[in-house]
Amino acid sequence: MKLAYYPGCSLKGTSFEYEVSLLKILEAMDIEVKEIPDWNCCGASAAHSINHNLSIALPARNLAIAEKDGFESVLAPCAACSNRLKNADYELKRDDILKKKITNSLEMPYDSQMSINNMLEFLIGVVGKDKIKSMVKKPLTGLKAASYYGCLLVRPPKVMQFDDPENPVTMDELVSLTGAEPVDYSYKTECCGAINSLSKPDVVMALTGKVLYDAKNHGADVVVVACPLCHSNLDVRQKEIERKYEEKIGLPVLFITELLGLSFGITPKDLAIDGHMVAADRVLKKIEELSK
């Protein structure tokens, strides 16, 4: 099966670590994906906020190109991108008038047959647990990892069609595959406020802070994410949150691809873990010690 890859803007910028680590583990597993040619921004949070039709048209172009190039399945590692792609697909399926308008504008047909996968769906559904298990060379036994799903992977459930929206477990299963111990905590699916990250930093810090402190209080060594927007808030703003609430957190935030990469025996440097704002040194050291 030809697998299309839709990186989205974040993976080319602020969350380049995600792309680096993703491509590394795919390479290790010998899985080939092909970037959608000349892809464009999905419009993410801004478009749906103020222009519904645009929020469907922008992702629709990417889907139409992928379809034209003969892809049946697309991987969108960014949770926001996968959310918007799925939303566009959903709207085009239910709103014939809008679909007509959009395909006319794009001058491309779209058949709505594309299977859109977020990172977790891709890993569990397309790659498969057995394959991943067979890749684990350095089990992360003893490491406590809190999976943070946020909103975009699971909500709205009728569009996302992924896992249990109130108690998702897919990422925890992946964490278990690496040998690490999933942490059960209360803020798995609470929102970090990403949409207003730049415009309402105080609100975002309040929301993100709750997630980080709860994970820490439940004994997490590390938080694992599958969304660059979540990562930005949890990682980039962590120092600020510590300052605001006057309490140390010090939780490294890893992408699920990075955690898998580590268990595959790929070096942290190759996974670009040093690209994070919160240093993961202590955790990496712990992993080293545990593996001895």
Partner: protein, 182 residues
């Protein structure tokens, strides 16, 4: 606040919202579960259920000028848990869009609104997001020049902020999409 219900304008507004929403306002029975679970309720001037009720009552000015519609983070917690399956998150999108179309600038939450606008401009001119430019333009527009600036050096050092953006080749198509749907 006092509201004199004007039946015709109420009906018009309700019809506009409902057609964009693909849902009926009368579905909401005001249980308040949306407001109970909303993570940003604490910052809002009206709770989500109040926004729904006021929309049903045709209180157009109030809802379009509310802080709530801009503070909503579209996390979909409300819609996911709504016992009536009402598009609570959807109504926030719809109201924002109507406000935007009407040229209403939020008095208190204009940063949020401007961010969305700048973001789409960025998409329009490159087809993709050029983050450094996005942040820069947003800061110029909001005049919050120094907010978050302390993050920049380290982000640059880590390679998180690229100095050059990518522009897609078929920008004409993007321009057409914007022309057709903006």
């Amino acid at each position: 606040m006092k509201t004199v219900l004007n039946e015709q304008s109420r009906r018009n507004f309700v019809a506009q919202v409902e057609s964009m929403l693909h849902d009926k306002l009368s579905k909401c029975y005001q249980c308040g579960k949306c407001s109970a679970g909303c993570p940003v309720n604490f910052e809002m001037d009206y709770t989500p259920n109040q926004i729904i009720k006021m929309t049903e009552l045709g209180m157009e000015d109030t809802v379009l000028n509310s802080k709530t519609i801009w503070l909503c983070v579209s996390c979909n917690t409300c819609s996911t848990r709504c016992p009536k399956g009402f598009e609570v998150t959807g109504i926030m999108d719809v109201l924002r869009e109507i406000a935007e179309r009407k040229g209403i600038t939020s008095k208190t939450e204009k940063e949020v609104q401007m961010f969305h606008e700048v973001f789409l401009e960025n998409v329009k001119s490159h087809g993709r997001i050029f983050e450094l430019e996005l942040v820069g333009k947003y800061k110029l527009k909001t005049k919050h020049l120094f907010r978050d600036m302390f993050l920049a050096p380290k982000m640059l050092e880590k390679g998180k902020l690229k100095m050059h953006g990518e522009t897609i080749s078929n920008l004409n198509q993007i321009a057409k999409i914007f022309k057709d749907f903006e």
